[in-house]
Amino acid sequence: MDLTNKTVFRYSISLRIITAFSILIIFFTVFILFVFNGLVKEAHIKVALDEMRDKTHFVENYLIAKYNTLDPDKKLLLEEIKQMAGITGLRVSFIAKDGKVIADSDVNTPQSMDNHKYRVEVMQAEKEGSGHSMRYSHTLETDMFYYAQNYDNYILRMAKPLPEMRASLIRIRQIMIYLGAIILLLSIIIVLFIVASITRPINETINFASQFASGDYTKRISNYSNSEIGMIQRSLNNMADQLVEKINSLVFEQNKLNITIESIADGITVINKEKKIVIVNKAFYKCIDVTRIKVSGLLFFEVIRNRTLNLRIEQSLAQAKPSHFEEELINGRTYDVSINPISEERTLQGVLVVLRDVTEKKKIEKIKTDLVSNMSHELKTPVTIIKGYLETIALNLNNTEQCSGYIRKAIENADRQTSIINDIIKLNMIETSNDFANEKIIIDDLIEGCVNILGQKAQLRDIQLNKKLEAMGEGVVGNKFLAEEIFFNLIDNAINYNLPGGEVNIESSISNNNQLTVKINDTGIGIPKESIDRIFERFYRVDKGRSRESGGTGLGLSIVKHAATLLGWKITVRSDSKGSSFRVIIYL
């Protein structure tokens, strides 16, 4: 809730209270005024009436004293009337029963006056003995009080202006208005105070509620009173406490879930039916090779760069069907992908995508199947060739010259078969057996021995073998058979994959951090970049023809690798179009 709403709220409450109060006060003021008006009028009339009665008695007494009768001659009355008026200080009139004015202290010629029979006071006097009335005189511009008393032959009437009455009425009205205004003002102030004292806690409550709603769970309403609002505030505080507890436990659950999802090595994402990514873990980022942007909230096809995966997700979202397949993703790794629809009350909410890395598994699988097919192929080929030659020999037994050539070829292939089988046996032995005794071996001597065996082959191919060995009197701990296999195969390869007139340089050196490095460098044909990682695989050969021609089996480097692993040595390769360089690193 914002500020304007709050002020409107406060004004509306005070406005309503103030209007109610004002109406009440005005009503009472008018009522009291009305009552006072009546009372004041009555009091004035009573005073005037008493005075008039006294003065009537005076006139009676005066007439009796002077003329011994209440009913003197009319002429006498005319003469006396001025004097009576003068003494009483009132206007005095004598009116005949028929209403004609006999004499009037203010008028010299009473015959000219209106008939007074129907004046209120006159009629009343005639009926009840005396009567009075009050009227506003326009000629005198003041209220006139009239009093009439009935006698046998006439009606005596007296009149008196009553300006005080009007004045006091006006004053009373003024006082009442002032008083009313002051009361009104006071009550407005009081109302404002009351309203403030009511709205302040309400506003506090509203503030608290809106802060709480906008996520500030730490605030509470402080120092509440014992009023109803205080009770509301107390229960709101309670509610807030409970909510915070609930929220905390929810957050805890959420965190647990997040940690779980994050710690899973499989790439996981949930895509909602608006095609937006809503849940995603770190592993998934790796799968889609996204490092610089946050993908949650984005459309899945904006960040997943794989046609098949996007298509399958789209299909699963459209048909609420699961999907399972293998796919190489943009990071170059192969994943086992499973897409599962997430439904709630039979309507699709989204899909869960789980990516499991199966690159290594596939690699191993491939190596296994390759191995089996390679091995059978390698073993079958020489037999097929031998069989072919033997069949030809059988058909041409009398042609000894031709036959001896075929026999030589058959023997060559039988040798090849033998060397393949020997290599397989050797490799198998190295791989499975672990009783290679630790003994002192002298590297220089080993290399020397290999060079002696291979020297003839090198000479035949016009390849120069150079040695530059650092003297190693002591020798190292290892196994003679394994070490010999390593150096023999490496030097053999350096000769086999060399060019006529090339060189093989064998160098050894001890570096300060206690390792002996033997380098076997050649100036041969080199190894293509994309093959370098594969030459240690069984039966892998860059150029099959060339390998066969040199009596290779494709197993040499596999043997080297396994032997080195058993010895705890390291083999590294570097190669370009000018030759290859193999290094054997021996830890002393």
């Binding site: 610089r292 942007i293 459309l299 904006e302 760069r305 996007n310 298509l311 943009i330 994309e530 370009d576």
Partner: protein, 224 residues
């Protein structure tokens, strides 16, 4: 509530991204085919190109229809205009990939030539440029898009390096001429793919900022 225009834009977006994925797949597959001399994979790339051509026409139609019927303004308008251009770039990229695949078929059976110049690395850089351009688009990140333009120079350099190396090798060993010329052509193709990726990045900047970076650059050079 999703408006009609938003719906149309999402639809176009989906198709453009599908096209992107197809183009990236074509690059990767054509290079794989070249490296392993796999003519089946190469044939797949060449066949896939027709599908991409169809998709290009569809996207063009969708963009034009949306422009006419929805009359988008401001950023939406720029997005669709960018898509129109990016669409062409992606189609060209796929075409080039198909040409690389044809080269792979042509080189089949010939001994391989090895160089230090790295064609797979060049291809990976190109793919990454395209991918990053679209990431910049979705996050409206101008600096990310601008980086791509400088990465393009790396691709150009790799191309030149490879060219020199292969040229020297041909001098030493004229037998490898057909393979070496093939690799030169592939490297040149990748360099052109890099150029298209750069175009896409420029389109992305136009979409985000509303200024044509090429025009600005021209203004600068005019001032000099």
């Amino acid at each position: 509530m999703i408006t009609h225009l938003e719906h149309e834009i999402e639809n176009i977006k989906r198709k453009v991204f599908t096209m992107t994925d197809a183009a990236i797949e074509a690059i990767n597959d054509s290079i794989d085919a070249l490296m392993t001399l796999d003519d089946k994979l190469a044939a797949k790339v060449i066949q896939g190109d027709t599908r991409i051509d169809k998709l290009e026409i569809q996207i063009d139609d969708d963009c034009v229809r949306t422009l006419v019927t929805q009359q988008p303004a401001a950023s939406d308008l720029r997005l669709i205009l960018s898509f129109l251009k990016i669409n062409t770039d992606l189609e060209r990229i796929a075409d080039i990939a198909a040409n690389i695949a044809k080269e792979a078929i042509r080189l089949e059976g010939r001994p391989r030539v090895t160089t230090t110049g790295d064609i797979p690395a060049m291809a990976a850089t190109c793919v990454n440029m395209i991918k990053t351009a679209f990431e910049a688009m979705t996050t409206r990140d101008v600096s990310m898009a601008a980086e791509i333009i400088s990465v393009d120079r790396e691709v150009d350099e790799l191309n030149i390096q490879l060219y020199r190396e292969l040229f020297a090798m041909m001098g030493d060993n004229p037998q490898i001429m057909p393979q070496a010329l093939g690799l030169i052509m592939v490297a040149k193709s990748l360099e052109r793919i890099g150029d298209h990726a750069k175009n896409i990045a420029e389109r992305v900047i136009y979409y985000i900022e509303g200024v044509d970076i090429r025009k600005e650059n021209k203004d600068h050079s005019d001032n000099k």
